[in-house]
Symmetry: C2
Subunit: 230 residues, 2 copies
């Protein structure tokens, strides 16, 4: 009779949503590599095969994670600001949604056009690019690049020490910085000069706004160039 609660998880009943939530939590804690059918099942006190009733296979589970991420995007209220300000706001909203889950952010790339919440983001982005004066094809190209760039911006580089506390990450950064500083200043003068910043880039405290600004600025310049045919 001491059967329920095989694990810590409360055994409500399995569902797509519960599985996805568990998967994201697991990824946050131990990285995408820890997200395994078997570990997920264990976390829910259930047999691995139980998950296969809710998802066709693991890829669909990952799709589900991406869908959840997109669904968390808080669209900025529509206003009459110029298109580039609106675009910046939209990209920042996307960053805000992905940023808390860097281990799974990369999944967003493959699934944008395969789920409703992703399509909503795509639709808004394309709409703003059309307002900027780009045609349908150009907007698609730029939009695709924008999404992948933003995703990359907030993605943890794989191979980072997971499950590691903040202290361990600090250590890794220090080691990296030291090894960069130890390079020959004759052969790599600029790497050595930027050692601190380069080592710091390997972390969640990276400056995402810089990247966004760069992207939007580039698009603005292109749009103006197109219009004035300069």
């Amino acid at each position: 009779m001491v059967k329920k609660r095989d694990t810590a998880e409360a055994r409500e009943r399995l569902s797509r949503d519960a599985i996805v939530t568990g998967a994201i939590a697991l990824a946050d804690a131990e990285g995408l590599g820890a997200v395994t059918i078997r570990r997920l099942a264990q976390a829910h006190g259930v047999t691995p095969m139980a998950l296969y009733w809710h998802f066709k296979d693991k890829d669909q589970l990952l799709d589900g994670i991406a869908e959840r991420l997109f669904s968390e995007v808080q669209f900025p209220p529509a206003d009459s600001a110029p298109w580039d300000d609106q675009l910046r706001a939209l990209l920042l909203a996307l960053v805000a949604a992905l940023r808390p889950h860097p281990a799974v952010a990369g999944l967003a790339r493959a699934s944008v056009l395969s789920c409703e919440p992703g399509l909503a983001v795509a639709e808004h982005t394309l709409s703003l690019l059309r307002q900027a004066g780009f045609d349908a094809d150009k907007s698609a190209e730029i939009g695709g690049f924008l999404l992948t760039a933003v995703v990359t911006l907030v993605s943890d580089e794989p191979g980072l020490a997971y499950g590691a506390d903040a202290e361990a990450r600090e250590d890794a950064m220090r080691v990296k910085r030291a090894s960069l500083s130890a390079l020959s200043p004759r052969r790599h003068p600029n790497v050595v000069a930027s050692a601190d910043a380069l080592a710091a880039c390997t972390g969640p405290e990276a400056n995402h706004e810089l990247g966004i600004d760069m992207l939007v600025t580039g698009i603005v310049c292109m749009a103006e160039g197109r219009v004035t045919s300069r």
Copy 2:
């Protein structure tokens, strides 16, 4: 006595270089997921454990792949062109080196600063950014973003049909386009309008120059803004 040549591979003798070459070939043919210690060993007619003499573990093998990619970058000859033209040329050279191997291009991100050929690319990039007037920290930020953006530009999205011939890829694209075109034009007018281009983006024929131009243009505008303090 019919012992040699367990497989097609000529059994010269194992080496780091040979293993890396085999790994890249395997990834090109069947995707990164097929790159497995065991399959690699098999391709070389050798026991899986044989690879562990040449590489500490699989991560080091992946590092070796990235190093090979960077070593194939053909640096444009130093000239007196303006820094932005030189930067564009350098990024295009990086694209040219990564483009033939989209399945493993993503490995370049984690390994830039961990191998000599990667450091060479980083050094040149930082040097040009310093010429543009950015300080050491800003150059590092921008440079890091640039690399990941370029890598993203040429990376196959995971989940693409591998081992699939060109025909199968064509099919996949057609299916994608059809499903996008079938969306409600009221809810997703811009996605529907861009359906063709969006479906085509999922392929190796993507326009990389557009992305590079966008990035460089963005940097130029930022640099000018900085200098003229506008």
